[in-house]
């Protein structure tokens, strides 16, 4: 198929950016969205132009590196990561707008590449269980109810791609933060640091300049791992409890 792409080009963080139109031809339905961009980039390189910069790595939907807003939707029309979005979901002759994640906390590095290190700092502020190497008791010392383990897992599935922030009209990182809070706070191992964790992580999240949550639900709709809005409710409850005591 042949497509018109309008891609956000921006040479650096402080440079102005804009949409540039490109024609790509002979795109196979079997291609992933990123392979389609690879095809474009091969042409651009041979022309001596700068290829479109975008983050990507595992290309199987687990590393969380890739992510772009396609026709106004984070990761595009399917609920998956951009690397797992295939061109069969588009039609010949389509015009596709491709933009980077947009958030004050995710400054653009180049083209579609943004700096998501704010997420790392949120994790560093409390998104862990303090268990220095060698200090652990036997793995069976504390049984964990299957329900709690499953719930923790479902929230630990977050890949940190940032689609929640990109989709939220307020650029809020509540779903990301909440997923980690739920993962660690529902486990008995995470209980001792439970209250401090949520307080610190919310403080770090606010300090990074993310917006607040207005419960629009856009984040959960965009999340490629299906993390639900419930997580935010749990974060709120944990936060308010922690604040009271």
């Amino acid at each position: 198929m042949n497509l018109t792409l309008r891609i956000w080009r921006q040479s650096g963080p402080d440079q102005p950016g804009g949409l540039t139109a490109y024609q790509v031809t002979g795109i196979s339905e079997e291609m992933s969205f990123l392979e389609m961009l690879d095809t474009l980039n091969e042409e651009l390189i041979l022309r001596g132009d700068q290829p479109v910069a975008f983050d990507h790595d595992c290309r199987e939907g687990i590393c969380g590196a890739c992510g772009m807003v396609i026709n106004g939707q984070a990761h595009g029309p399917e609920r998956t990561t951009t690397c797992q979005l295939h061109m069969r979901h588009f039609s010949d002759g389509d015009t596709i707008d491709v933009e980077p994640w947009r958030s004050a906390a995710f400054p653009v590095v180049k083209d579609l590449v943004v700096d998501r290190s704010a997420f790392d700092r949120i994790i560093g502020s409390g998104g862990y269980i303090t268990a220095p190497t060698g200090s652990a008791p036997d793995a069976h010392a504390v049984p964990v109810p299957k329900e709690a383990a499953d719930l923790a897992f479902e929230h630990a599935e977050c890949i940190g791609c940032g689609a929640c922030v990109a989709a939220c009209p307020n650029g809020s990182a509540m779903l990301f933060t909440a997923a980690k809070v739920v993962h660690l706070n529902v486990l008995p191992q995470g209980a001792p640091e439970r209250r401090g964790r949520v307080r610190s992580m919310v403080a770090a999240m606010d300090a990074e300049g993310f917006g607040g949550c207005t419960n629009t639900g856009e984040c959960a709709t965009a999340c490629p791992k299906g993390i639900g809005l419930n997580a935010i409710g749990t974060l709120n409850r944990e936060f308010l409890r922690g604040g009271r005591r």
Binding site: F210, G211, L235, L240
Partner: protein, 233 residues
């Protein structure tokens, strides 16, 4: 080596989540008031005596422990505080939210539900309406044919002015939308709906939000409509 990376406790109000909780609590206070207010309004359908008597009683609540209108002023203080907290938090959060997305998407598309998207402007409309509403039916400043102590007649007089009736009706529609998203949102903000493994609770809350919004809007709207159609004279 003990290593603490947790910062000292900060006041709740300083964080976005704390501000949202303050908004939720103040919103619920206002909502409770609205329910009482709406029920009181319905007395208009029982005639001038009923409504005026009810209005007079409101001024005597708590007697003899409380003086004349003391309860009313206490309620007004609480309401004013709730409105201020709600509005200030909304203002501060909105500024923050707008700053968090300095560059918008070129490709825009319809996002969340209408009620969700109109919370901010709906809130502003409701704020302006409250001012108008007080000037119209409490201080009677803009209600030229009104007189103190006769709420029934004042209401009828007000809604006989065409624009006053329409302002009221539009505001009540905005109120309905505001409550529809606001009530569920408050529950989420206070973490009341997130019983994991119990998705029913969330559904019940959403249903309750819709029902509350519908009942309050219908109740409030019934008065101006009755006046404008001549059912209440």
């Amino acid at each position: 080596m003990a290593l603490t990376t947790h910062p000292p406790r900060a006041p709740l109000w300083r964080s976005t989540v704390g501000k949202k909780a303050a908004m939720a609590v103040s919103g619920l206070v206002l909502l409770a008031y609205l329910v009482a207010h709406m029920l009181g309004n319905l007395k208009i359908f029982f005639g001038a005596g009923e409504l005026n008597g009810y209005a007079a009683w409101l001024r005597t609540i708590g007697r003899p422990f409380l003086g004349h209108e003391w309860f009313l002023w206490m309620a007004r203080t609480v309401l004013l505080a709730a409105v201020l907290v709600h509005g200030t938090a909304a203002y501060q959060l909105s500024r923050r939210d707008l700053a968090a997305r300095p560059t918008g998407y070129r490709h825009t598309r319809a996002r969340a539900s209408y009620a969700t998207r109109t919370m901010r402007w709906g809130g502003v409309i409701l704020g302006l309406f409250i001012v108008w509403h007080i000037l119209d039916l409490t201080t009677l400043t803009v209600n030229s044919r009104a007189e103190q102590g006769h709420p029934y007649q004042n209401v009828v007089a007000s809604f006989h002015t065409w624009y006053s009736g329409w302002i009221y009706c539009l505001a009540m529609l905005a109120l309905g939308l505001h409550i529809r998203h606001g009530f569920w949102s408050a529950a989420q903000t206070l973490g009341l709906n997130s019983q994991h493994g119990n998705p029913r609770r969330d559904r019940v809350l959403k249903l309750a939000a819709n029902a509350l919004a519908l009942l309050l809007t219908a109740g409030f709207l019934s008065v101006p409509i009755a006046v404008m159609t001549g059912a209440v004279k």
